[in-house]
Symmetry: C3
Subunit: 277 residues, 3 copies
């Protein structure tokens, strides 16, 4: 029985996540449930899209990723399921899956219209319970994607995170601060080759290497603050030192060793970040 992961902005204090799990296990009693996170900031589709694209590749390809960040619940936005080589995604068609789809060569999508695979009563405020959880559960039990509804070819896409590559400069922006206060930026993905960093723009299918520069000789600027060259590890910085490094998903991060860069710098998502060499 495949894994079903859950990602929502429902939080952990209310019954919403538990109710979805009850619905899933009533249909697919053997399903393995894994929470990705339920603390996506309310209605922040971009943050949900980022978590999905970072987490999905680490799960087996038959995993069903159920994701509900759904400000348009009850409007005309379509409920969809999308099969890809890195997993099957179930949720609202509002762009939540569009960055993950840039990572794959091909996908098939359907609109979740077949009432046999919904709860008998569909509310207008909680499609996570009434449409998405049943669809994910039925897919996990082996119901073919095509049985859930008609094909969809024009999925909604999110705009890509800001990234501009010029001669001797790459500019991006702060996307968010993680739990450690590390500022995750849109500059990625970065790969080490010896002392050089290669930039292959994320979420741009078929993009090749777009820049290459010597990590130890660049200048990194975030807002009005200059950060020392890009380090390989926290251990190369002193305690409390501001440091730029390549985060676990290949994006440039601004951190403070054993400290909190978001608190130190007070910078908000959208603040520009530059690498110059």
């Amino acid at each position: 029985m495949p894994i079903i992961t859950l990602l929502t902005d429902f939080g952990l204090e209310d019954e919403y996540v538990g109710v979805m799990k009850g619905v899933i296990l009533s249909i697919a009693p053997q399903a393995r449930l894994v929470d990705l996170t339920h603390l996506i900031p309310p209605q922040d589709i971009c943050r949900g899209a980022l978590v999905l694209v970072s987490a999905a590749p680490y799960f087996p390809p038959d995993t069903v990723h159920l994701a509900v960040v759904d400000p348009g619940v009850g409007t005309a936005r379509r409920p969809v399921a999308i099969r890809t080589p890195i997993g099957t995604f179930v949720g609202p068609d509002n762009g939540l899956f569009s960055w993950a789809l840039t990572e794959v060569e091909e996908w098939q999508a359907v609109e979740l219209r077949e009432t046999a695979y919904r709860l008998p009563q569909v509310s207008m405020t909680f499609h996570g319970r009434d449409i998405f959880a049943p669809a994910a559960a039925h897919l996990a039990t082996g119901v073919p994607l095509e049985a859930l509804g008609p094909s969809v070819f024009d999925l909604v896409s999110l705009p890509l995170p800001y990234l501009e590559i010029r001669e001797n400069t790459v500019e991006g922006e702060i996307l968010y601060a993680d739990r450690f206060g590390n500022l995750v930026t849109s500059i990625g993905r970065l790969r080490w080759t010896g002392d050089l960093l290669t930039l292959i723009p994320a979420f741009r299918p078929h993009a090749g290497p777009a820049a290459m520069f010597p990590a130890g000789l660049v200048r990194v600027t975030v807002g009005k603050t200059e950060v020392r060259p890009i380090r390989r590890t926290y251990g190369e910085a002193a305690r409390g030192e501001l440091v730029a490094l390549v985060g676990s998903s290949g994006f440039l991060e601004i951190a403070v060793r054993e400290g909190n860069a978001a608190e130190r710098l007070g910078l908000l998502p959208g603040t520009p970040v530059q690498i110059t060499w």
Copy 2:
């Protein structure tokens, strides 16, 4: 092997929830564990009772619902297990299960006195670990309810949430704000029939329809604020507009489309809410 759900006010930062799961899995290694929530506000029995009554019906009927919101731990309050058609409940006899019990025709309860189904040492401060987790685990492995202790017939009941129905007016109160800042009220349960809403008072067994009114023509007042008529979906409101709608459990909710009503209105639990027509 049945599901065991867990609901507590233990939070997620300490070892308490993990310890209960270790105890359960040592007794019932095949049990499926599902967290309902561990973020019930400390000792808020009413909030726990609301989550249980909203979530339990979505689980298979052989599920064991282990719930610990237990300000009276170590006093004379009884530890109990209660078998019902919507699941078996295990926890303190302090009213936590009383609203769920109003939803069922019959139940059998026992006091958890049998020492063979407790941990060898029972502390005076952590019955979740020493009494409730072992009882839930043994029930999940098939131990009959009757083996756990003597029958109990006089379970403690919580007072019902405030709801008063007059000619052309229904009055209730704000119960709590959920993660989205939606204000969940005691006015419910509401059911749509065409453009009419029918009110069948929640938690009053055998109550029939007590009021019926045209959703689009009513006036909703929360504290001193008037809200437009009751909508079917967020999509019928403009972004940032205050809106009254029927929430996922059938209770009237006051929300702000893509916003936070609790922050906007600054209202506390207990604030009166009226529907007038």
Copy 3:
């Protein structure tokens, strides 16, 4: 298939925990995953060590406890796995497991050097994903400890929490406040014998009883506040009363019945606590 528990300071809003679970389930699809907590304060190794020592004994002895509180990721600190009679621990060699090890007679440890049991690419910032999760998963599938790398005999130890025993006085300190605002102290472990309390110093292997005193006749001082004698249960105190009692892991706790002692007293970790008789 054994249980794998997870303890980290990764928080619940980012993808880090989900990614580790994806890695584990890709290697050990049948593993049972149990979260101990992911809300260890960032880089607080001592708090992680306390949760581990309190929770591990309640799990079956073949459990693998994967724990990542790892300020030294990317430095020379070793990744290790340690087999003990109360479970196998996997994580950084920075003292995180040292208090749990004081509870056992013997252990075997290895450094996680064998590349066959790591992810193919090992980053310098996320060993939880690249080294620890794969090691825990392989151990759960039955790979012998010795296969993961060379033996280690000189594991790093944390200093022990402060505890000083004098004639007629025991002095310790506040370790942390739990979710209820109960102040957990380093004075433990305490065991009841009738009306007497016996103190067997925690984390000191082979320590025998070091003090014995009449619980009802002692004076407890925390900071500059005097607390009434040590109670058996919250029920012996009035609502809102400050109370000293023996917590669920055997450590002295300062609490307020149905209230929050940390808020009431405003005391920080490190504040001295005394029992005098």
